[in-house]
Subunit: 174 residues, 2 copies
């Protein structure tokens, strides 16, 4: 076989973008928010255990969010903030039952702050992707009303449930 076959070379050139596409293409949310493909590389804001929902969560932030959290300036969060929440079913750790840890992935959801663009929903744009195939949540833009409804108890906290956790050492002056 000719190692330099133009046909094979063409196939090789095509295969790379197709593979990338198959691995990363996730449909946007109904309001147009794109899936942040690098979210799992984001830094930690906090964690939580919803005992009522039987789920474990990690709350991540993009760089603007992390910088704001570390400065303690999150009321309000600055425009450009994106907060991500990864949600898994709860379950006992296999060798230490009183430790509750993530089991199957449920969904990942995001809030992005843009006071003007998202003025109708409190300055935040919402998006959620469900299941390991990351199906966008909601059939149309009305899905965000459900998000706003659930977040209404924390309207006075700029619509955010999460309090950033402490990661010592603290900056000088804190």
């Amino acid at each position: 076989m000719n190692r330099f076959s133009p046909l094979l070379a063409g196939a090789a050139l095509l295969s790379t973008p197709l593979l990338v596409s198959a691995e990363t293409a996730v449909a946007p949310a109904p309001n147009g928010i794109e899936f942040p493909a690098d979210y799992r590389d984001w830094k930690v804001i906090s964690v939580s255990h919803r005992t009522d929902h039987h789920s474990m969560r990690v709350i991540l932030g993009n760089e603007i969010a992390i910088a704001a959290a570390r400065r303690g300036e999150t009321l309000p969060w600055p425009d450009g903030t994106i907060l991500g929440k990864v949600v898994w079913k709860e379950g006992a750790e296999p060798d230490w039952a009183p430790a509750i840890a993530p089991q199957a992935f449920i969904h990942v959801e995001f809030m992005e702050k843009d006071s003007k663009k998202w003025a109708e929903t409190g300055g935040w744009g919402y998006a959620r992707w469900v299941g390991s195939d990351l199906k966008p949540y909601g059939n149309d833009t009305n899905f965000a009303l459900e998000c706003v409804g659930c977040h209404t108890p924390v309207k006075g906290r700029d619509w955010v449930f999460t309090t950033p956790a402490t990661f010592p050492p603290l900056p000088a002056g804190h």
Copy 2:
């Protein structure tokens, strides 16, 4: 006053390292492990809620750990892995009581894998820093025996309690 006074210049030169030192100097663990000053920038391996210890945790990894977790190759974890666990007291979220979230920081602890260097403690070197002033845990190197004792139930999991959580999309072939 002479802006170019050698005395003032000397003071200025000294002041920068002194400030840096005050912000970042953390004493090493009794076994010589240095505090990983950038741990809060590490990526997430998983989270947990120790209902017996009334604490919330996030488990972070250095780049070698994250790469191993994403490849699913953690039995054993490769040499060079460092796992970090940040531990806070548990408490209810202020506006959603069934959600348990971090309160005060308790400690941060690390396991670093070096099969040769740490052969006497199962291939892992242990370290913990306690409280917001990050005081090293233990009076001498015997402190690691306590770590090994607690981790013995997971000897068959390369001494690690944590199962890496799933962050879709999964790589092709998984």
